[in-house]
Symmetry: C2
Subunit: 230 residues, 2 copies
């Protein structure tokens, strides 16, 4: 099968699982280069990059030979091309929310490691607030999809990729999601169970990183272990 | 004149000037509530907010009585409604870039104050890289607009609102922009000179904050003053 796309991202779930879930549900064929190729492209001079970009993800659409950076722009472009974009305002607002949640849980992309007080405040306040916000939105889907169609659209896929991935990779947070956001947890599970997405997850190589990688992943795991001992 | 929109944002330029530039260029009529009303809405329970959101901007479109959060979603919605969205991939990618630049210059929205070493690294490396990235894009417009039309579109307005506002409010950075990104500086100036945008800027009340407000604004001004003394 010929490839539709190449997705440039680090070999971690985190932000990358949002376009990956969309690509999988769309039935697209894509590959991902290794870490070294990704790093070389990121560090190239902006004049030498295929499109000037600061950080991944970056998507190359082979048929049109176009390159696109920024996760929300990538998922919206995929959504339009593959018929998954049913409510552009909601779809995009959730992609931006997802970026913010991922920024927050990594303490600004690992700018600093978590300290226990800041983590405790995040887990008690901002994280449940994000969950409750998205639970209110997810509840509108009932037993169906926010897309209003018989398959998940971009809004569903984004919520699923954000919250299922987080709570699957960081299992202690699953209880938080169930407690604060039962409709969201259900929607996220249903997205994760879609055949192409379940297949992606089953084939995913967990090592060496589980979620966001690096020192900040170790810091989050350390915080969760402390919470568990208390 | 009846109002088309209410824009909820803090009384600072920063992120808010991106939707403001778009609203002004679109010829829309909008108002903005005061600080206290903004704060009350932000701190309300997600179930009581008009749409669940974490932080401003938030846009209320009166005719449809719809509410939208997240700056890129707001500018894309305005762009579609007012005929300013000519290349959705580029328009959205630049809105996301702008969010990242604003995050970086405020050291993750003021999570920490700048220290001189980190600021020096930012001003020597990441900030010029962003400028050079966007200069490559702006250069494609030549003496015209990225929209390819005879008036600026969303991509032009976003670049103008980001870079003109930053270098106008933090004047020492204008020399950085001129040095690293002459085409971008020119595009930003032409956007800022559009009659409705020039009028917005002339009427803007500078006090008490100049750019992003708060302690982090004071920290940036302190860093710029240190740089100037060296």
């Amino acid at each position: 099968m010929s490839l539709d796309y190449t997705l440039y991202y680090w070999p971690i779930p985190f932000r990358g699982h949002i376009p990956r879930f969309v690509l999988a549900e769309a039935g697209a064929a894509w590959d991902e280069p290794g870490f070294d190729e990704m790093l070389a492209l990121k560090e190239a001079d902006p004049l030498d990059q295929p499109t000037p970009f600061m950080g991944p993800p970056l998507l190359h659409h082979h048929a049109s030979d176009t390159w696109l950076s920024q996760m929300p722009a990538i998922t919206m472009a995929l959504g339009r091309r593959h018929g998954l974009c049913h409510d552009p305002d909601l779809d995009l607002r959730l992609a931006c929310d997802a970026s913010d949640v991922l920024l927050e849980i990594t303490n600004s992309h690992g700018a600093q490691m978590w300290d226990p007080d800041d983590w405790a405040a995040f887990r008690a306040d901002r994280l449940p607030r994000w969950m409750r916000m998205h639970d209110r939105i997810a509840a509108e889907a009932g037993d169906g999809w926010l897309s209003g169609t018989d398959a998940p659209g971009l809004a569903d896929l984004t919520l699923g990729a954000l919250w299922h991935t987080m709570t699957d990779r960081l299992p202690p947070l699953r209880a938080d999601l169930d407690a604060h956001a039962p409709a969201l947890a259900d929607l996220a599970d249903r997205v994760a169970a879609r055949p192409a997405i379940a297949d992606l997850r089953a084939r995913w190589d967990d090592s060496p990183w589980r979620y966001c990688g690096g020192q900040i992943e170790a810091s989050i795991l350390d915080m969760l272990e402390r919470d568990d001992r208390q």
